[in-house]
């Protein structure tokens, strides 16, 4: 057919120990929005990186407009009219919109001198043409994420992209911003741009796609028309079995207040106010979920509570003790546990052994320390026990933490945090980037802790996770808590509006 703009034939890509793509076929027609659905690690991003020339396939071929092509890098892909908006924006924060757009294909005068005025005009023209409002002179880091994403799209259009790949574009958006993006996608498609849309969210795939392809474990496992598919049918295709979308749990039996936060404020790394007067409490035996789009102060809030960031004002008590200006050590000693959102940065030392990582924050206490010395036999004995209890898949306890899979690394963190007597558990994005099996396991552990009488504060950008686990839900927007609802009464729509700041 002549309207096929992109064809992928028999693509196979291997990474050490992983078959990321296994004989994948795909066709893309002009003006359609093809959703590529699959869970983390299904091989969607690998496939798209191949199409964008970032990876070379081990086998198979690519046809752009019927012509077999060999892409030796993004430059070749761009030359063929392929553009990509990465999940992590590829924008330079300190530069302007126009500079980011033209980078690599600059508008220059003689001698390689930049013509800023012309570049900005080109950006303005493009944004008018496709209805993508952006100020070409604005500095990227001062723009909201939704706008940054539009800059990424303008960047691709500036390079005359006819095929646009969007990798998990809604991960950082509010549901409402997501809707705006979908409108832009439909507009682009109407103008003849062909779009591949990568996602693992069933609802939005059904909402915007004109065709859906499902990937699992590196293979294409099915194709569907949005009109005929349901969330349940897509979900079982995605994971290869029926998934339990609900976490089984009994009603909460809240006890005494454990964590009390009063008018707390905090600054972010750039010294801007990130948390502005947040107050809430969490009781023993309940899970308070904090919903919100990333970057609305949740990270800073958790860091202040767990002693990683200085508080700017207000008061925090845990079990009645004032911990407003606590260090991480104070927090741990007060019976606090913390599953950090970035396990590679905070949660573990990748070069340390599994055994050492399992005592990372209480190596100084008996029995793990004896005087000034680490009591290695005790550390090892603890490791043997935890590896068994939490089903951590590791060759030995002396294996380096960094060589475990993401799910097992997270199990190490969870095991360490919940296997000691704790009063409060703060879990931040506890399942980000994990496979379904690990997600279920970690969700169950969180509920187990709640039922054992621990107060749980859960922070997640995944609304589904928040709704499945929480007993009460607080929504954070621009450093403030807009509302706190009982989970039983909350609806997606209501939460989505709150996440967008509407109330």
């Amino acid at each position: 057919m002549s309207d096929i703009v992109l064809e992928v034939r028999g693509i196979t890509k291997r990474f050490p120990g992983v078959l990321a793509n296994d004989q994948v076929d795909l066709t893309l027609r002009q003006g359609e929005i093809l959703a590529l659905l699959g869970e983390n690690g299904a091989g969607k991003s690998t496939l798209m990186n191949i199409v964008y020339g970032l990876y070379h396939p081990d086998e198979g071929e690519l046809l752009v407009k019927g012509q077999a092509v060999k892409l030796n890098g993004p430059r070749d892909a761009i030359g063929r009219g392929i553009g990509m908006v990465h999940q992590h924006f590829q924008l330079i924060p300190v530069m302007t919109v126009a500079e980011n757009v033209v980078l690599g294909e600059e508008v220059v005068r003689a001698g390689g001198v930049l013509d800023r005025a012309k570049a900005e005009q080109r950006v303005r023209d493009l944004s008018h043409q496709y209805g993508l409002e952006v100020d070409p002179a604005a500095i990227i880091e001062e723009l909201p994420v939704g706008t940054q994403q539009r800059v990424e799209i303008v960047k691709a259009l500036y390079r005359k992209a006819e095929i646009l790949i969007l990798d998990e574009p809604t991960a950082v958006l509010t549901p409402q911003e997501g809707e705006e993006l979908f409108a832009i996608m439909r507009e682009l498609a109407a103008r003849g741009v062909s779009i591949i849309f990568i996602s693992h969210k069933l609802k939005e795939v059904l909402a915007v796609a004109t065709r859906i392809m499902v990937m699992r474990a590196g293979r294409v496992v099915g194709e569907a028309e949005p009109a005929e598919a349901t969330e349940a049918s897509l979900a079982s295709m995605m994971v290869g079995r029926d998934v339990i979308l609900q976490v089984p749990k009994a009603p909460a039996k809240p006890g005494d207040v454990v964590l009390h936060v009063d008018a707390l404020t905090a600054l972010d790394d750039r010294k801007h106010q990130a948390v502005s007067g947040v107050s809430f409490e969490v009781r023993a035996g309940e899970i308070l979920g904090i919903a919100g789009v990333q970057g609305n102060g949740q990270t800073e809030l958790v860091e202040v509570l767990t002693g990683l960031r200085a508080s700017g004002g207000g008061r925090v008590t845990i079990g009645g003790r004032d911990l407003t200006h606590a260090t991480a050590r104070d927090y741990t000693l007060a019976g606090g546990a913390h599953i950090p959102e970035d396990r590679h940065r905070y949660g573990m030392v990748l070069q340390y052994t599994v055994a050492d990582n399992l005592v990372l924050n209480y190596y100084f206490q008996a029995p793990f320390a004896r005087g000034l010395q680490v009591n290695q036999p005790a550390v090892d004995a603890n490791a043997v026990q935890q590896v068994k209890a939490f089903d951590i898949r590791t060759p030995t306890i002396d294996t380096r933490g960094g060589s475990l899979s993401g799910g097992n690394q997270q199990k190490v963190v969870v095991a360490r945090e919940v296997s000691r007597p704790i009063k409060l558990l703060i879990a931040s994005q506890p399942t980000r980037g994990l496979d379904v099996g690990s997600i279920e396991y970690i969700h169950r552990q969180i509920v187990v802790q709640r039922d054992a009488g621990c107060a749980v504060l859960l922070v997640s950008a995944e609304l589904d996770e928040i709704m499945a686990l929480s007993d009460r839900i607080a929504v954070m927007y621009k450093g403030q808590i807009l509302a706190t609802l009982a989970a039983a009464d909350a609806t997606r729509e209501q939460l989505g509006l709150l996440m967008a700041g509407v109330h």
């Binding site: 990876y55 980078l103 690599g104 294909e105 001698g111």
Partner: protein, 303 residues
């Protein structure tokens, strides 16, 4: 104060700032592209030496400058080879350069070489007649003039050309630059080598313009002072130049103090400590005030 003394101090300040200013520009090109260059000191020293030898052997002082600049570029290429290609920790790689320079210059220095004179000031007709300013700005030897011009050239290149945009992109977010088809590795190599050329010129200044002969370890920490100055100037050429002038001024004042009667009150050693103390203070006071290029120090691996 006597205007003659003022002019002497200022003109000495300008000349003393020349190697620091060049060193800071060297650091700028490297760091803006994402490569820390702790080896400026060694590059300077090595270039000062080869420039001196070339001048002694050929008698052609301009050829000698060329040799010094090429030496700097070669050393920088080595730094690039280690840190960009092999991803050796950039601090270690730079230290290797420094130690290698001390070893090589120490080994070859034993030969008896006589100097062939040095670069003399060129008074710009007319302009040099302006009172005070004329003597300070328009009666200088060539590398001092060149360094002044290079500060502005560097500013223009960095912020107003395609090269500069790409260079900064590579130092801020190499992955983003790569996805747009910019060759990160090549850009880094090229800019590290440019940095080497600038460090080489600073070395040439020391032997061919300032002193006229080579002494062991004659760079005396100037390479490191340059880095502090670069940070002081928030990774911009004009800011770095201001910092270099501050150092030049301190040095000039130090010389002036030693000649004046103050020497009996304050031991000259204490005056000699000034530039090093100032470096520490500048570093402590200004790191963290400005944001370094985001990717500085991190080797780039193509996916």
């Amino acid at each position: 104060m006597d205007p003659v003394i003022i002019a002497a101090v200022l003109s000495s300040a300008l000349r003393q700032s020349t190697p620091i200013s060049l060193g800071a520009l060297s650091g700028l090109f490297c760091e803006r592209s994402g490569v820390i260059n702790i080896g400026i000191e060694g590059m300077m020293l090595m270039a000062a030496f080869t420039g001196f030898v070339a001048s002694a052997v050929t008698g052609n002082i301009f050829l000698a400058i060329l040799v010094a600049v090429l030496t700097g570029m070669l050393m920088a290429l080595f730094h690039g080879w280690l840190s960009i290609q092999f991803k050796v920790d950039q601090i270690i790689s730079g230290t290797v350069i420094n130690i290698l320079a001390v070893g090589l210059t120490g080994y070859f220095y034993t030969r008896n070489l006589t100097t062939q004179g040095k670069l003399e000031p060129i008074a710009l007709p007319g302009l040099s007649q302006i009172p005070i300013i004329g003597r300070v700005l328009f009666d200088n030897p060539p590398i001092t003039y060149l360094a002044l011009v290079l500060v502005f050239v560097a500013h223009f290149v960095l912020f107003h050309t395609r090269w500069g945009l790409r260079l900064r992109a590579v130092g801020e977010h190499p992955r983003a630059a790569d996805t747009l088809g910019i060759n990160v590795i090549w850009m880094r190599y090229a800019n590290v080598v440019i940095g080497g050329a600038l460090a080489g010129l600073a070395g040439a200044f020391l032997t061919l313009e300032a002193v006229g002969s080579f002494e062991r370890g004659m760079t005396n920490g100037r390479g490191f002072i340059s880095l502090a100055v670069m940070i002081f100037g928030k990774w911009t050429p004009l800011g770095a130049w201001a910092g270099a002038l501050l150092f030049g001024f301190t040095n000039a004042l130090q010389t002036q103090l030693q000649f004046s009667g103050l020497g009996s009150v304050i031991p000259h050693q204490f005056v000699g400590m000034l530039p090093y103390l100032l470096t520490i203070i500048v570093l402590a006071g200004f790191v963290g005030r400005a944001r370094p290029p985001a990717a500085v120090g991190q080797p780039y691996t193509k996916e």
